[in-house]
Amino acid sequence: MPEHQTGRVKGVNGNLVTVEFDTAVMQNEVAYVKVGDMRLKGEVIRVRGNRADLQIYESTAGLKVNDEVEFVNELLSVALGPGLLTKVYDGLQNPLKLLAEKAGFFLKRGLYLDALDMDSIWDFTPIAKPGDKVRAGDYLGSVPEGIFTHYIMAPFSLKGTWEVIFVVPAAKYNLKTPIARLRNADGDEQDVTMVQYWPVKLPIPCYKDKLLPDRTMITQQRTIDTFFPVAVGGTFCTPGPFGAGKTVLQHSISRYAETDIVVIAACGERAGEVVEILCEYPELQDPRTGKTLMDRSVIICNTSSMPVAAREASVYTAVTIAEYYRQQGLNTLLLADSTSRWAQALREMSGRLEEIPGEEAFPAYLESQIAAFYERAGLVELNNGRTGSVTIGGSVSPAGGNFEEPVTQATLKVVGAFLGLSRERSDARRFPSIHPLDSWSHYTSVVPESEIKFARSILRRGQEVNQMMKVVGEEGTTTDDFVIYLKSEFLDFVYLQQNTFDAVDAASSVERQKYCFSKVIQVLETMFTFEDKDQARRFFQELQLNFIDWNYMPFESEKFNSQERVIDAKIQERKANA
């Protein structure tokens, strides 16, 4: 047992503990404070003279001056290996279900469990042979994990090229058993098990190249895929005031997005939302695989009442796990709800450290931290030629719903798509409340660009007419303008709005989006003749109803096709003669 560095508590202020150390400490290393028979985990965040400031990931109640501290000389790391999928962890990768078995209803501080069950048995098949030269991240073998082939990789921390001395034959092994031994040019040898550890705050660097994200990630949300698409390996943010439907939107994306793995980081938000995922995902079927959604998910959950310092760690834990599956050659989607809470955790710590505050008391390094986090997304070509990706979607909870605040602004600088949720739309129950004119995306849509442009111009002009009508009234508006307004409302109601709680309407496939959007465009392009405004309104109300009914019918079903004929007939009814 190696001797650890030790120290003694000299001050306690909330979760900030000042420690006098004896010899040396490392910045960001993990330390444990002993209180009674418990050891509370913490991280060194500042060193001054012979005193180090630690942020403790737990409640510090009961700590006393001169309590013992033990430094472990390692950065905060996560365990990576088969068995991560379907797990629910806290921000420090403690499995919550096991914690519940050990400690009951409440989280017990100082109780840390293995993230992966080290005794679990996996069916290993070797890939590497003795004599092979391997580098960090190269595949040594594989095990089946659910529907995926989970590759066991040479540790990411390896430097240079190593030679494989032996690999165990195909058989079942537990996670503690070395499955290979490697040797480098200097003759150093290293045993490799199926689990490796990686410090969360460092990106996993084992890839050849970062590629331009140019393929659309299908979310089956019409507004997103058609108007504000997200790319595989891209980044997007969903800022919005409370009650605008951020979480509901994120849940829809996590359910219906066409991606291999979903990592959900519930960071400083309500426990209730996580519980919904925990209870529903094991029941819901992923139509692409036939397995439950849980089989492709890892959930990191550090809800708002859980310790603040661990909240800061939780997004890093999540992105590291996402990167690990990227190394498997898979497409992973990381959804962080909400990055504002993470930023607030930074602010709380910064305040305790008495740093000079920046805007709204956020620390000056906020922007660079946010940028560094989103930059961990990307589509990469691995050393073995495969590609893998991490797509990051962060929700932002701006104070007062005002997008001018520092976290939203810092996020907008680094993301590829901005899905701004609006209070006006949510108050009018127009969901998803993504603002169709303020939002933007740099990625490629699933429908032709010209159609989008046309649809957007209708929306813009419709809004102008609406503004004008508020001043001059309906009677002061020409019927032509009024019809444009009705068309923009029509587009909003039948296409932008989508009912998440309806089994059919909740997910709209690409084919369906293309098909229905061209029908919507057809309506927008058609010239109609009306005798007066009431007649026009009436017509669009009826057409709208036809379309909404259509949205609730399964694509290409009997009902769907007959409803289409109803719609076509309806369009003909008032079509102007050319």
């Binding site: 510090t60 009961g62 209803f105 426990a271 305040g351 104070a399 719903g401 009234g473 309906e474």
Partner: protein, 433 residues
């Protein structure tokens, strides 16, 4: 025998500093001065200096006064004897009856493991249509009532306390006017709700630190009852006073303020209280309704803003009515699909028309000509306000839904409602000719 300290080296605001050894963070102490004995809590340790927040305030404390550490954090009794009783923020009886020291539990305990929560699926019926129909209250939900000074928010809380179908009510009053406190007590007493209630009341004239304790005391008690399988409803009024108390203490402690003087951890402080709302897997539940008065009726003020992000929706109380816009129960989807199959449709349609009505009203006030459609909306709006928005109602949800259909049918024809044909066929009232 615990050591007694006599040397107070600093007094600032409500915080005193003594030099002492072997003191645990968050532990309690008793400070005895000529004014009497007060509890105090350790809020910071630095070398041999111990910073204590004195519950009764520091006025009249002498540097030579006696400080005795108790070696444990703040605790509250959780026995059944609490029912029908009234305490102050420090847990001392206000009703002149004896103190209770059985089954002490620490306040501000650890957070519930999310894996031991269940998805909230049980509706709490309140008999108020604006809640039951439009923003259904769900067990384990945490909801603020956003309001402004002068609105009848305490009356609404009292009404909910009387009508809500739960086992136990815990009422936490912070900065209550003394009359309001008496009104609460008398109303609950008259309607026979007092025996199922526990009250922790801090009035406006009590020491500010006790205000900070009220939510923790109330929720610790609620948690114990919930663990015994009870369905507990916690009513808090007014959380703005709580947050202002936090601000006062933070500034005294020379913390860097973030927004409008509030401490950077306001969100976490509020969240750790609101998140006590829970539906235990295999035990009872805690539901929280908390009044938050919005300074200057501004929802972007840090207190309502942070609250809104934590809670599962919000009620806006304006002009004596629960505003249909902005008011939202996020958990209603969990229950309103199983009440009656027209529930969601009635709710959505009526709100949509009410929004249109508001727009028409605006147009009308600007002197624009009213179209036929506008006339229909105006009629609808008036009926809706008169029949649905009254907060002194006590009717069952099903009756309220029938009322909704009746109002719709009085104003519109079938197509105009935009409701799915299937539902229209079943619920559209047949007009007697």
């Amino acid at each position: 025998m615990r050591k007694v300290y006599h040397k107070i080296i600093q007094i600032a605001g409500n915080v005193i500093t003594v030099e002492a050894d072997n003191v645990g963070y968050n532990d309690l102490a008793e400070v005895t001065s000529t004014r009497g004995t007060s509890l105090a809590q350790v809020i910071r340790l630095l070398d041999n200096k111990v910073f204590l927040q004195v519950f009764n305030g520091t006025r009249g404390i002498n540097t030579g006064d006696e400080v005795r550490f108790l070696g444990h954090p703040m605790r509250v009794s959780s026995s059944d004897a609490l029912l029908g009783r009234i305490f102050n923020g420090a847990g001392i009886p206000r009703d002149g009856r004896p103190e209770i020291h059985d089954d002490l539990v620490e306040i501000g305990g650890p957070s519930v493991n999310p894996a031991k929560r269940v998805v909230p699926r049980k509706m709490i019926r309140t008999g108020i249509p604006m809640i039951d129909v439009f923003n259904t209250l769900v067990e384990s939900q945490k909801l603020p009532i956003f309001s402004i000074a002068g609105e009848p928010y305490n009356d609404l809380l009292a009404r909910i306390a009387m009508q809500a179908e739960v086992d136990i009510i815990v009422l936490g009053g912070m900065g209550l006017k003394y009359d309001d406190y008496l009104k609460f007590r008398n109303t609950l007493d008259e309607h026979g709700a007092l025996p199922r209630s526990v009250m922790f009341v801090h009035t406006a004239s009590d020491p500010i630190v006790e205000c900070l304790l009220v939510p923790d005391m109330s929720l610790a008690v609620a948690e114990q009852y919930a663990l015994e399988g009870k369905r507990v409803l916690v009513l808090l009024t007014d959380m703005t006073n709580f947050a202002d108390a936090l601000k006062e203490i933070a500034i005294t402690m020379e913390q860097v303020p973030s927004n409008r003087g509030y401490p950077g951890d306001l969100y976490s402080q509020l969240a750790s209280r609101y998140e006590k709302a829970v539906d235990f897997d295999g035990a009872g539940s805690i539901t929280i309704l908390a009044v938050t008065t919005m300074p200057g009726d501004d929802v972007t003020h840090p207190i309502p803003d942070n609250t809104g992000y934590i809670t599962e929706g919000q009620f806006y109380l304006r002009g004596g009515r629960i505003e249909p816009f902005g008011s939202l129960s996020r958990l209603k989807q969990n229950v309103n699909g199983k009440t009656r199959k027209d529930h969601r449709t009635v709710m959505d349609s009526m709100i949509r028309f009410y929004a249109d009505y508001k727009e028409t009203l605006e147009k009308q006030s600007m002197g624009f000509q009213m179209s036929k459609w506008d006339e229909k909306l105006l009629k609808f709006g008036k009926l809706f306000e008169k029949n649905m928005m009254d907060l002194s109602m006590n009717i069952q949800l099903e009756d309220a839904l029938d009322l909704g259909w009746k109002i719709l049918a009085d104003c519109f024809d079938r197509t105009e409602t935009g409701i799915k044909t299937e539902l229209l066929n079943e619920f559209w009232p047949v007009k007697e000719s």
